[in-house]
Subunit: 144 residues, 2 copies
């Protein structure tokens, strides 16, 4: 496995980190940070979501997650429900308000992607998307 491959991957990492950063700029008049948006998204998609799961999934300190969830609860975006099987555990679900908030964030993210690919031909977009799928498919299978 050559050093060149490692350099190529690092180059892409730098490029993509910056690329995503450039396009975050258009979405930051949101009341929620990128981290919070991702957490809301994950709650929305994860069956039986818990704070511990989110902390592990995002590699964030559990007390930070706890605080974020408290804000979400205060804002009415989520509801917590004590597990009957293990009363340490709270199950977290998005409320209707939370679904709404997430939809707003998702729409903004869609607009961001839209502007990211504005001047690219359908053909090239197809290549980008297929390439992304290949990367995710291969890398994902090795981290689960």
């Amino acid at each position: 496995m050559t050093e060149k491959i490692i350099q190529d991957i690092k180059k892409f990492n730098r490029f993509y980190t910056r690329h995503m950063g450039l396009f975050n700029i258009y979405t930051d008049e949101s009341p929620y940070s990128a981290t919070e948006a991702l957490i809301l998204f994950e709650i929305s998609n994860k069956k039986d979501c818990t704070a511990a799961y989110l902390s592990n999934y995002f590699l964030l300190d559990k007390s930070y997650i706890s605080r974020i969830l408290k804000h979400f609860e205060r804002d009415g975006l989520i509801a917590k429900k004590l597990s009957e099987l293990d009363r340490r555990i709270q199950h977290i679900e998005l409320t209707d308000i939370g679904e709404e908030a997430l939809k707003t964030l998702a729409d903004k993210a869609s607009n961001t992607v839209q502007s990211m690919i504005d001047k690219i031909s359908e053909e090239e977009i197809e290549i980008v998307v297929e390439s992304m799928k290949k990367i995710e498919e291969i890398l994902y299978s090795k981290t689960q």
Copy 2:
């Protein structure tokens, strides 16, 4: 251009953001943050680098860049030189110490990539790298 393409790109963005986050964990006993490392890297590669350039390039507040560069100067990693053509401008260069520090960070990043692709076959790695190149090639040409 379909909504599905936008969803696919967003999915990849979420995946790759987290993927890079997972692999940062192995490099964080560094005295420099990821941002600082990227700045050092850019100084190393950019001819006639200036603070204003770095602020624009990374979309970071100029006062934050100023402080980071001050730390780098204090640590002996960079040298600043007033431009003779425009005495507002300072040219920034890496010192030998800075090259050394960057090398250390680069080696750590290489180890991170190494562990990222540890269990992937040469064939699949080839696909990943080629896919990354395609993405960068297409997206890059539209943001410069």
